[in-house]
C-alpha cells in the first residue's frame, strides 16, 4: 500500500510558470496503456520537453541531465499543473519516480489529484521555492532534500529547515496510506441505511437491478 511519511531524495528544478497538465502528460499519450497500469504513464512524463521529434532525449532538459537522474522531488513555478483534470499527470509524475512537487501555487484539480495518488504537493512562497531551486542548481555536490510529512518540514540542500502547511485530513491520509475505498467501505452499514431511506423518498431516482 502507498503511503508517505519521510522522503529523502534528489530535487530537480523546473522553474517555469503555468506548467499545464498537457505538458506534464501530452494528450496523445492519454490512451496509452501498458501492463504497468497507471505507473506506465511515467515513460511519457513531459514527453514533448524530454524528447525531440525523433523521440531522442533532449540532453539539456533538466530531467535528462545526469545530475538529476533519479530525482524524486520536483521544484516548479507558479500555477503548477494548471489545465485539465487529467489524473494522468500525477500518475506520470509518480510513474517516473517523483513523489513530491514544490511550487508557489498549483492548479486546483491537479493539487487534489496529487493527494489521491500519494504524490505530495507543497505550496511555498515564491521566494522560498526560488531559493531552493538556486541551491539545487548551484549543486555543490548536494541536490538532496528531505520532506518530512510527520514534522511538516523540508530540509533544504544547505541544511536549513523550512516549515510547510497541509490540510490535516490529507496529511493523515498520506501518512497512513489510507485507501479511500477501504475507508468508505468501513461505513457500509451507514451507506446501506441511507440508501434504504432515500429509495423510499426518491424511488424515481433508481433503476432496476441489471443482469
Amino acid at each position: 500500500m502507498d503511503n508517505f511519511d519521510v522522503l529523502t531524495g534528489k530535487a530537480a528544478p523546473l522553474m517555469r510558470a503555468n506548467i499545464d497538465t498537457d505538458a506534464i502528460l501530452p494528450s496523445r499519450y492519454l490512451t496509452r496503456s501498458s501492463s504497468q497500469g497507471k505507473a506506465g504513464f511515467g515513460q511519457f512524463l513531459f514527453a514533448d520537453w524530454r524528447f525531440d521529434d525523433a523521440g531522442k532525449p533532449r540532453p539539456d532538459f533538466v530531467l535528462n541531465r545526469p545530475e538529476y537522474k533519479g530525482a524524486q522531488i520536483l521544484l516548479a513555478g507558479e500555477n503548477m499543473g494548471c489545465g485539465s483534470s487529467r489524473e494522468h499527470a500525477p500518475w506520470a509524475l509518480k510513474g517516473f519516480g517523483i513523489r513530491c512537487v514544490i511550487a508557489p501555487s498549483f492548479g486546483e484539480i491537479f493539487f487534489n489529484n496529487c493527494f489521491k495518488n500519494f504524490v505530495l504537493p507543497i505550496a511555498l512562497d515564491a521566494a522560498t521555492v526560488g531559493k531552493l531551486a538556486a541551491q539545487v542548481e548551484a549543486g555543490t555536490g548536494n541536490r538532496t532534500m528531505t520532506v518530512d510529512l510527520r514534522q511538516k518540514t523540508i530540509t533544504a540542500p544547505d541544511g536549513s529547515a523550512i516549515g510547510f502547511t497541509i490540510d490535516e485530513q490529507r496529511r493523515q491520509a498520506l501518512l497512513k496510506g489510507l485507501d479511500p475505498i477501504g475507508e468508505t467501505l468501513l461505513m457500509w452499514d451507514e451507506i446501506t441505511a441511507w440508501r434504504t431511506k432515500d429509495q423510499a423518498k426518491r424511488p424515481w431516482a433508481y433503476l432496476p437491478k441489471s443482469g
Binding site: 492519454l30 490540510d167 475505498i181 432496476p208
Partner: protein
C-alpha cells in the same frame, strides 16, 4: 429557510458530513468512456469485489474513437483500441450499461445522458470528463471526477466531495434574434473571466435562461467549466419535464409523476443565499467569437481584437501579445472577415439536433467556400438518425460538409481526427487552447450557425447577414 437549487440537491445526497466542508455524497449516476477505459476497474479487480450498483453506471465510446464512416475498434491513435476494448470487456464483466460502437445510443457522454433519460433533475451524476457540467442543464448536480474518484464511485456508489461555494449568474431580459445559448455563455465568460467560477457551483438563471429549451441550457452549462466552475446548473421546469417524458431510462407512469412532484420543489427559493451573484443584460449580447487562446478571449462579431499597446499593464500586454501571436491576428483588427480554413460543427457543446437544425438553415442552398474543409459530427447516433430522418444530413452534404459518425472528434483531436498546423478553424466546441485541435491549429469558438456562416463565406462572418 430559503435554499438554493444547489443546496437542496447537495443536502439530499449527504450520507455523512465529514467536516472541513467535505461530505460523503451518494452518486446517483456515473458514466464511463473509452479514455478512462478499463483502468478505473483496477481497484475492484484487486479487491475482488462486485460493483454494488452496476445499474446506476453507464459507458459509451466517444473520446478516442475516430469518426470516419465504417470505423471500428482500430482507432488512429496508439493504444486507443485498448481503451475501447478494455471498456467493453470490463463493462460486460461488471454489468454496466454499455452503448457500444454501432449502437444508436452511442455518442458523446454529455449528449447521451440527457437524451437517454439517464440524467434527471435532482440527481448527482459524475463522469471522468470536466465538461460533465453540461448535464447540470437538466437541473441536476453534475461534475467531472478524476479517475481515482470514479474508481471510488464504481466500488461504493459514493464520493467524498468538497462543497463548493454558490454563484448565481442571472441573464436578465431577452436575447436579440440570431443570438444563441453559445453566445450567452461565451459572453458571460468574456465578462467574468476564465477564473471567475473557481471554487463555485454556478446556477444560471433569469428570464433569458428560462426561455431556453433544454438543449440550449445544456450548451450554457457545458462551458461553466471554462470559467473554472466545477459545477453548472439550471433549475428544471416544465420545459425539462416535457423533455424527459418517455426517454428510455427515465421513470415512467406513476414514478414519473412522483419525480415531477419532487423536481418542482428543487428550484432556488426566493431569498436563497449565494456567495456571489452577477447580473448580465441578455439584450446586449451579439453573436460571439473568440480571437485568442482562452474562451475568455472573446468579442462580439462586430468587434475588434484587442491591441496589446493599449493594455493596462505589462502582464496583460504579454498575455495579449502571446495570444495574438498564436492566433496570427493583427492587433486591433476587425474579426469579421478573417479568412478560415476549416469549419467544425460538433462536440458536447453544440452537436444536438437543434444545433444541427439551426446550422442547416444557414447552409440551405449554399456551398462551402472554396478551399474550406467543413465537418459535421453529430453528438450521438440518435442525433444522427433524427437529423437524417429530417434530411438535415442532405443539407450538410449538399453544402459540402462531411457528415461523420458520432464522437468527440475535433473537440479534442484525440481520435486521430486532426487539422493541420497554422490552419484557422472556426468551431462549435468549447476550448480554443493552443494545439487543442492539432498542433498549431488556431481555433475560434462560436455558435453552430456562426460556423455555418463562416464555412460558406470562407471568412468569419456575422451570421445575421446571412440569416433569412
Amino acid at each position: 429557510m430559503a435554499l438554493s437549487l444547489f443546496e437542496k440537491i447537495w443536502r439530499e445526497h449527504v450520507i455523512r458530513d465529514l467536516g472541513n466542508g467535505y461530505a460523503l455524497l451518494h452518486i446517483d449516476r456515473n458514466v464511463n468512456h473509452d479514455l478512462v477505459g478499463s483502468l478505473v476497474f483496477e481497484p475492484l479487480d484487486k479487491l475482488k469485489r462486485r460493483m454494488p450498483f452496476p445499474e446506476l453506471n453507464f459507458a459509451t465510446m466517444d473520446h478516442g474513437i475516430d469518426t470516419d464512416p465504417g470505423r471500428g475498434d482500430e482507432t488512429k491513435i496508439p493504444g486507443g483500441k485498448d481503451g475501447v476494448q478494455g471498456l467493453r470487456r470490463k463493462s460486460k464483466e461488471y454489468g454496466v450499461h454499455l452503448f457500444d460502437l454501432g449502437d444508436v445510443r452511442q455518442g458523446i457522454v454529455h449528449v447521451i445522458t440527457p437524451e437517454l433519460g439517464i440524467a434527471l433533475p435532482g440527481l448527482t451524476l459524475v463522469c471522468g470528463d470536466s465538461h460533465t457540467t453540461t448535464v447540470g442543464g437538466m437541473g441536476a448536480l453534475c461534475w467531472g471526477a478524476g479517475v481515482t474518484e470514479i474508481e471510488h464511485v464504481l466500488a461504493t456508489q459514493t464520493l467524498l466531495v468538497e462543497k463548493p461555494k454558490a454563484l448565481r449568474i442571472l441573464f436578465e431580459g431577452r436575447v436579440a434574434k440570431g443570438v444563441t445559448p453559445k453566445d450567452m455563455i461565451l459572453y458571460a465568460i468574456g465578462q467574468l473571466g476564465a477564473k471567475a467560477g473557481n471554487g463555485y457551483c454556478v446556477e444560471f438563471a433569469g428570464e433569458a435562461i428560462r426561455a431556453l429549451p433544454v438543449e440550449g441550457r445544456l450548451t450554457v452549462c457545458n462551458m461553466a467549466i471554462e470559467m473554472a466552475a466545477r459545477f453548472g446548473m439550471v433549475a428544471a421546469d416544465d420545459t425539462t419535464f416535457e423533455y424527459i417524458a418517455g426517454r428510455p431510462f427515465a421513470p415512467k407512469g406513476a414514478l414519473f409523476d412522483q419525480g415531477v412532484r419532487y423536481w418542482r420543489t428543487l428550484p432556488s427559493d426566493p431569498g436563497a443565499a449565494f456567495d456571489r451573484e452577477v447580473t448580465l443584460d441578455a439584450g446586449k449580447i451579439e453573436p460571439q467569437i473568440t480571437w485568442g487562446t482562452s474562451p475568455q478571449d472573446v468579442i462580439g462579431v462586430s468587434g475588434r481584437v484587442p491591441d496589446p499597446a493599449k493594455a493596462p499593464n505589462a502582464e496583460q500586454r504579454g498575455y495579449l501579445e502571446r495570444a495574438l501571436k498564436y492566433a496570427g491576428l493583427a492587433p486591433g483588427a476587425p474579426i469579421d472577415g478573417t479568412p478560415i480554413d476549416v469549419a467544425f460543427i460538433g462536440s458536447c457543446t453544440n452537436s444536438r439536433l437543434s444545433d444541427l437544425r439551426r446550422a442547416a438553415q444557414i447552409l440551405k442552398g449554399r456551398k462551402v467556400a472554396k478551399g474550406v474543409t467543413a465537418w459535421c459530427v453529430p453528438g450521438s447516433g440518435q442525433v444522427k438518425r433524427d437529423a437524417e430522418a429530417e434530411g438535415i444530413d442532405r443539407v450538410f452534404r449538399d453544402a459540402g460538409f462531411e457528415w461523420r459518425e458520432p464522437g468527440c472528434s475535433m473537440c479534442v483531436a484525440l481520435g486521430g481526427d486532426k487539422f493541420g498546423p497554422g490552419q484557422r478553424s472556426i468551431s462549435s466546441t468549447n476550448r480554443n487552447f493552443e494545439n487543442r485541435q492539432g498542433v498549431g491549429v488556431r481555433t475560434h469558438l462560436a455558435s453552430p450557425e456562426m460556423v455555418a456562416a463562416a464555412a460558406v463565406t470562407g471568412r468569419i462572418t456575422d451570421v445575421r447577414k446571412l440569416a433569412v
